[in-house]
Subunit: 286 residues, 4 copies
């Protein structure tokens, strides 16, 4: 376990969701193996861990994805009638120079199909509350397998600390991913990661948040989509009321006119809806 201090910058790397590194060497079992834990000196329950993702760079030329839509995102009729091809090849070539991914052995119709590389971290977590231990496919108030495609280079993630040292983990890099991680596996690959940690002492929300140059983001993780919408909306309302000193009606006016939702994750053990508000909007609050 690496001990680091608030203000420290860490350069490290992650293996892919299957445990394979940048050289193609299997370094661990599959299932979202993580890099960490990092013990942040001075972090205690009730604090918030601040993780700025300075750099998130691909370090190899291959990825693999799922090739079927998860049934939880489909109507029963589609599930009943659809026949998939078991031999479909969903290996990808990552062309880092051009900034695109393409299928390694594309089917006829996907010969010209390319995806813009937008590396993201599927997993970023601290130790869960109450000494619990979850598999790394899980997500919750402690972060985890959140699979939100805006957790990219330049994004800052806020996580509520539940154990001394916070015990930060990162992993499950995706070269690119649509909303919801619809095929269960995005373009799974290994990565170089550089982040800087900081602490907000004695203040903690019960859920993760994120921030980038353009948005404040409340990450609503819950059992079902309606509950995830409720969690994200409520957190964003509270954020405006506490940090921007808005009254409830004022928060309603701002969110009613300016809230945006992203559906981050529909296929994991819990679902994830993000409520966000632009900094351009916030600049108009006196």
């Amino acid at each position: 376990m690496l001990h680091i201090f608030p203000g420290d910058t860490v350069r490290t790397w992650t293996v892919d969701a299957g445990g394979v590194d940048s050289k193609g060497v299997r370094r661990s079992l599959g299932g979202n193996p993580e890099t960490g834990p990092f013990y942040i000196e001075g972090a205690f329950p009730g604090d918030t861990l601040v993780v700025k993702l300075n750099r998130l760079r691909l370090n190899r030329d291959s990825a693999v994805s799922g090739d079927r839509i998860e049934p939880s995102a489909l109507s029963p009729g589609y599930i009943q009638s659809t026949k998939y091809d078991d031999k479909f090849d969903s290996n990808w070539v990552l062309d880092r120079e051009k900034g695109i991914a393409r299928l390694k052995q594309p089917s006829e119709r996907l010969k010209n199909y390319t995806v813009k590389l937008q590396p993201m971290l599927g997993c970023i977590a601290v130790a869960p509350p109450g000494h619990q231990a979850f598999r790394t496919g899980f997500l919750g108030s402690y972060g985890g397998n959140m699979d939100y495609n805006q957790i990219r280079e330049g994004t800052t993630v806020y996580l509520p600390v539940s154990a001394p040292g916070a015990l930060l983990f990162v992993g499950d890099g995706h070269a690119a991913q649509g909303d919801g991680e619809l095929t269960g596996d995005a373009l799974e690959t290994s990565m170089q990661v550089e982040f800087t940690v900081n602490l907000i002492k004695g203040k903690s929300t019960r859920n993760p948040r994120a921030e980038n140059d353009d948005y404040l983001m409340s990450l609503g993780i819950a059992n079902s989509l309606p509950e995830a919408v409720q969690a994200a909306t409520t957190d964003l309302a509270n954020w405006l009321q506490r940090d921007y000193k808005l009254e409830p009606n004022e928060a309603a006016i701002v969110l009613g006119t300016a809230i945006q939702y992203n559906i981050a994750e529909v296929v994991d053990p819990l679902v994830h809806v993000v409520a966000k508000i632009s900094k351009e909007t916030l600049a108009k609050l006196k």
Copy 2:
């Protein structure tokens, strides 16, 4: 009932959700009064009505919105603890020259708060199937009170025809609206509307779709958010498979890497999630 023909362009106007027109005159009872029906000659069940919104322009300088977040989008704890101010004034001034809205009597913190004007139609509908009659706050396979903020000038809406003549209605204009119509009422106002109708004969999806310069959009309207995600995702997969000749695995690859979701509506009798794919992505399909 106005009879029009495929290819016709109609210039008309809508009153606001409360029934008030551009002069401030009450023209009908409130609750999303509609303009129409327009009987499209030659439209029969099994066809698709195509409505291109050529112009959607504000025609007065005032709007009124809700000032409380709908409880269905909030956690029980927030509902229990929040006290709203009954005297909050949520009347808006629409400055059409500058293209912004501002509160008429803003509270201190919202003195500088402005919202970009982005006029949209809350309601666009044909007659529902099976001779049913729903209130205009309702939505469904026939369209209705969909409250999606991308149903704007330049957008084309596709609606499945269930009755001879289709019986097109439009109404419930919003000067601007965040995702989900979170306060129940957006910036409700009257509008000038110009649209062109066309028919796709003998082809019909069971749900509404939309299209603009940038996106194909499957409008998933359902009882609950999980079902709305399923409806929207399934329709978009079917769209790719039928019109772009993709096999199921190929559709999964494309959606897994490029789908985007919008949460259009969380507060109405049914909820509305949009699954969309960019035309830039579609251009890469051979």
Copy 3:
């Protein structure tokens, strides 16, 4: 339209869900054709219509049911892997003397399978609010296709009146049905029906209720099961607080120890959960 008066008893009959009567004669189109409307003199919006089902008797020896579980009640994996036999015969013989139903052409394993006859009304409705018109497969605050297997002979149903005369309908008799109407169609058959109507003037709940010798029942009809549980529980709490003068904590104590839930309907356009409390429990309230 038959005009009747509060206190009147009506003897009538219903065709089956496919429109066939006791003689095997098709009397209407299928899809839950109804008997009615009955115009109850003196019934006005804001009143409650009270319908006591005095007699509900089978009047023929045949029924037909569904033979597949509705996919909405099954996990995706089961849907994907299950192959049904298209030639399965789900016609039933109703042995009214012995009080049992058995398959007409039973498969080997179901040779001895019998079901106790417990006739119930799938549909009982008044006109919906707001001049709306729904198909008879629909259900809602006005009753409708509630498919609750306790709406039997001896049960009293309470329906909120929304139109002058209430406009009572009955139909969709089932000879027997498990919880949830899992196969979409129960043992659909025709019936003799005798009921007595009464009015509670100037009092109305927003949802249907029922009562028999043993239970008070709050019928929670909603878009999703969580909302149906909320509707049913809330109505039963309000019932105890208003009619039994309990304070909120007292209602919580009684419901926490004595509430029972039934899942009445999982396969219709809306779902239906019943919250009930025994009269034995109520007798202990001072």
Copy 4:
């Protein structure tokens, strides 16, 4: 850790959910402290642990319950408008001779209110899969805080083994409980417990099941009520198809006419719906 063998009978006791034993002595922290683990010799992943509850007896004269309905089971309007009395006393006297519970300091309206004693175990669990560790308020495929009021004396519980020795825990005894554990805490008390363990080698369902003299019960534990209904229904269909050799249509016929649902738990981190079928019905299968 006590090592026991298949066929062994264990007599033990549980403290209440707050950690207090039959003498009123606090023996552990609160939050559903458990008795165990019991290491069952010969139990391995892939087996099913069979736990017959021979005796479940109250061993003291007091219990305490919640006195507010959990907001997740209530409509937002009720939550907003309801004022609870903070000083309400929800301590109970357990009269084991008469077999009833009554409030210790009843309010006027609840002076005569009694509840029949029907002791049950809120928690019965084996170690979760994948070396995970959950708080004892959690539930899942491994059992846990299932809070089903039919897990009583005479009931047999089947749990899928995920760790060598199974690691059986019991706890969270309730003197009585309505459906759904609506007040969050039922009549929490300590108990004497006697159970006999057995193993079904090399066979395992992915979810818990139960059985008593009258019913087979599939315990559907999931994130949301619709998913819990799906899990329970699917498991019961599979149970009939595998152990009673029914074809899918036959299973549909039997479940369509005879399934019963219980809503076991609506207030915990996951929800719990039971699908059950009577042994009287099963006796009619050839």
